[in-house]
Symmetry: C2
Subunit: 490 residues, 2 copies
């Protein structure tokens, strides 16, 4: 089967070059001296050119015609290569370059606009990005739905319609839960106090190790925004510290460990191949979310964390473990998605999903975004947006043309709900080890059932295989209702 | 002049990709988790393949035929591109790959052989590397001298014959000086004491800044072996610490700052072009050596450093500034090149130069290397080599097929001698600022006279322009004789 071997050898080099690109991104956010950004942009553009040329290489088309692997892994490898090859072919190279150039500038303008609370500064750039994104979507959709065409890049198999159904099923019960919590008689206090950086990083490290992060194949650094980067044998994560908000550091770390553990846990046989990466953004997010929320924010695990914080800082910002558990899960409406609690989080996403679909299909123009955002936010959260950085300028995604990315966050939560239900059924004594600071029975379950497969199964498929049910919203909603009814004595 | 612009645009991307390769090397030595090395090797091999294909691109040949720039910079750019293109064309791709593969394995075997004092373990690998290097030299030399063909990669313009003349002129006066110093009545003590890492790194940082290292376009990290990496806007250095040998840390840092300042100081108009890198290894080494030795180990500057060490550690390992100056320049024969003083250093290089020329032209076989090394070392240094790690296994170079590299170290010393003589003539009050910890008049002189030109002039040419004389050994020898006669009261 020479064609298959040639195709895979070629792809392996492309994957290796893709890993280098990721490493440059990591370096830029963690190590790069500030004066180097101009040169780095040229370096990354040169490598992007190499990658684009490889992905367009007509030999891929020839190999794809010649291969017909008879095993599942081979078939999935070929399917993933074909999908990427066809998508790359459909988008004219000039358009790809224009998107790369424009988003690079738009990203900078967005940061400046957010810092100066000036949406009008960002508007022309957003219009350009949007126009190019629509053009790309048209090229990809070939007469089909524009938004679906963009979505496929992040979540193969999902459509605007399927996601709409998911949000329609989530929303009423989330809104009802939110209203009950906000009307609860029991009050839950957030954490109080300031916590110096070294101690936060020490606990952060303990958390990463507890959740199975392999520092022999990764490292932890500080960055402005936490992220996980790389696949296979070198998967690095970052975290950040805020003196008055240590739980941000702790749970950012656990979240990124979820992403990293997925990449570190994939069967080594898939190293540097299309199956050697997480299969979709939604499945990736299911891992970060279940680590962070269902496991990390559980009563059992926060009990252990309470002891750790007391040991390192003397005081944990709450009088006892139960108050600490409440503080970690403190529920209140707020402007910022990344700071939202588990109840509010998905409502932030519904808003973005609805608005970005309208932006892509032309029902909403960039100029009208702030008004649409603010009206919707007030309706959903009961708060008037006070400034653009608390509104439609808060997220980086649209400046980078990442239309179709937001819903994968909620999809991840929904998948995490399904996985958690199955995991708890299989591990009835899990709370005992969680209470001892050891989530390893859960992380081992996830590795065995899901992580090791990498891209071997399609997204919805791998969730169904792991959880024993078709993905659906009920387990997440049941979990949230039970957890917050308990915390707020509803 | 479309062909020139096309050629330069193509070359610029190649240079950018080359910078990425350098950055991966830096990451490997400083940041990379230990379990990632296998994947990293594949990543670097993939990028090496991309670079090799670009350097072989037949369009380069077409462009080179079509261009005839009428300015010096354009002519030199074209000359450098032509030289590299022709060298790449001459070496069969299979041979290049075999060298890459073999040196990678040989490097690992060398490290193991050195650690276990087992030359026989390394011998078969050395034979392979040597055989491939001879083959490469034959391909490059096209009937000419094999060693010269290898040398050209590191020092264009130098030949085995010209270097032989240089060593012949150096050796008698160095041997005579060495004998006088070793027979001196005055004794000079080395530094005494142990110095913790944080303090060493703090002084190292002060030294880097004093010598003009630009941390806006670079950073300092720890690594097993100090090195400088990168060109243009991102030039990083590393240093190391040994508790009982703080001067190793201090002077490694100054040495690497010399390399880095050269790269950082090149005219920005040459960024990401062949002229935007140091012009040769010898000229590069002239900068690291003059920073480290003629400036850094001067009586004036060590007087300031003595105060810094006292401030940070309370004790500087010597009773006064004069004793400290002596200790920093303490002269004694030893096995290890990298630990040699200024008098012995070049004697280590003559030995390597003579042996590697014999290895390349076939007068010496790999199996006979230890005997040849040990006999020569005892004759030159008066010491019997006690173990291979103190003899022919001490340096990494030959395992990496870097035949022709060693003599550039002495060439750097010789160039540094010429530059220093001219610099002192132009800056009669330099010792006053050096004594205040400020070498900036000297570093500014070097930047103006030499560093900013990058590859604009050929190696010997840029030294002659800067120093006002043809390169020769006398200034170095005069400097060494004067300095050590003074320290040892000869």
């Amino acid at each position: 089967m020479a064609a298959y071997d040639e195709l895979m050898a070629f792809q392996r080099e492309t994957e290796a070059l893709g890993q280098i690109m990721g490493r440059l991104g990591w370096d830029q956010e963690t190590m790069m001296p500030s004066g180097a950004s101009e040169q780095r942009a040229e370096e990354m553009a040169a490598l992007a050119g190499v990658l684009h040329a490889r992905r367009m290489d007509p030999r891929i088309g020839d190999w794809l015609e010649a291969v017909a692997p008879d095993d599942l892994a081979g078939q999935r490898q070929v399917a993933e290569i074909r999908r990427e090859y066809e998508r790359t072919q459909k988008v004219p190279s000039d358009l790809s370059s224009a998107i790369a150039r424009t988003t690079s500038l738009a990203h900078r303008t967005w940061a400046e606009a957010r810092a100066t609370e000036d949406f009008d500064l960002f508007r022309p750039k957003l219009e350009e990005v949007l126009s190019l994104s629509r053009e790309k979507a048209s090229a990809l959709a070939v007469g089909g739905d524009l938004y679906d065409a963009l979505l496929e890049e992040f979540e193969p198999g999902a459509t605007g319609t399927s996601l709409q159904e998911m949000f329609d099923a989530l929303r009423p019960r989330l809104v009802a839960l939110r209203e009950k919590v906000l009307g609860a008689e029991r009050t839950v206090a957030p954490l109080i106090g300031t916590y110096e950086e070294q101690g936060q990083l020490e606990i952060s490290r303990r958390l990463a190790l507890a959740f199975g992060y392999d520092t022999n194949h990764g490292r932890i650094d500080k960055a402005v925004h936490p992220f996980s980067s790389g696949s296979g044998l070198d998967v690095r994560i970052t975290t950040r510290t805020e003196p008055e908000n240590p739980s941000n550091c702790f749970y950012s770390t656990i979240h990124e460990v979820g992403h990293a553990a997925y990449e570190q846990g994939i069967d080594r046989a898939f190293l540097l191949s299309p199956l050697g990466r997480g299969v979709s953004m939604g499945v990736h997010e299911s891992q970060s979310r279940i680590y962070e929320n269902q496991l990390g924010r559980s009563r059992a695990f926060t009990g252990w964390l309470f002891g750790q914080v007391r040991e390192v800082f003397g005081d944990a910002g709450a009088p006892d473990a139960e108050a600490f558990y409440g503080a970690i899960n403190h529920c209140a409406p707020g402007y910022i998605r990344t700071e939202a609690d588990e109840v509010h989080y998905n409502l932030h996403i519904v808003l973005r999903f609805d608005l970005e679909r309208m932006l892509i299909d032309g029902r909403l123009e960039a100029a009208d975004l702030p008004e649409a955002w603010n009206a919707r936010f007030e309706a959903d959260f009961g708060l008037a947006v006070d400034k653009p950085s608390n509104g439609c300028l808060q997220d980086v995604h649209w400046s980078e043309a990442l239309f179709g990315y937001f819903p994968t966050y909620t999809l991840g939560n929904v998948y995490a709900g399904c996985l958690h239900e199955a995991l708890r059924a299989d591990l009835p004594d899990l709370d005992e080890t969680l209470a001892a600071g050891d989530p390893s029975p859960a992380t081992a379950w996830l590795r065995e059932k899901l992580q090791r497969h990498g891209g071997l199964y399609e997204p919805a498929d791998v969730i169904e295989r792991a959880s024993g049910r078709k993905p659906g919203v009920e387990p997440l909603l049941d979990y949230l209702e039970a957890k917050f009814s308990d915390i707020y004595a509803l």
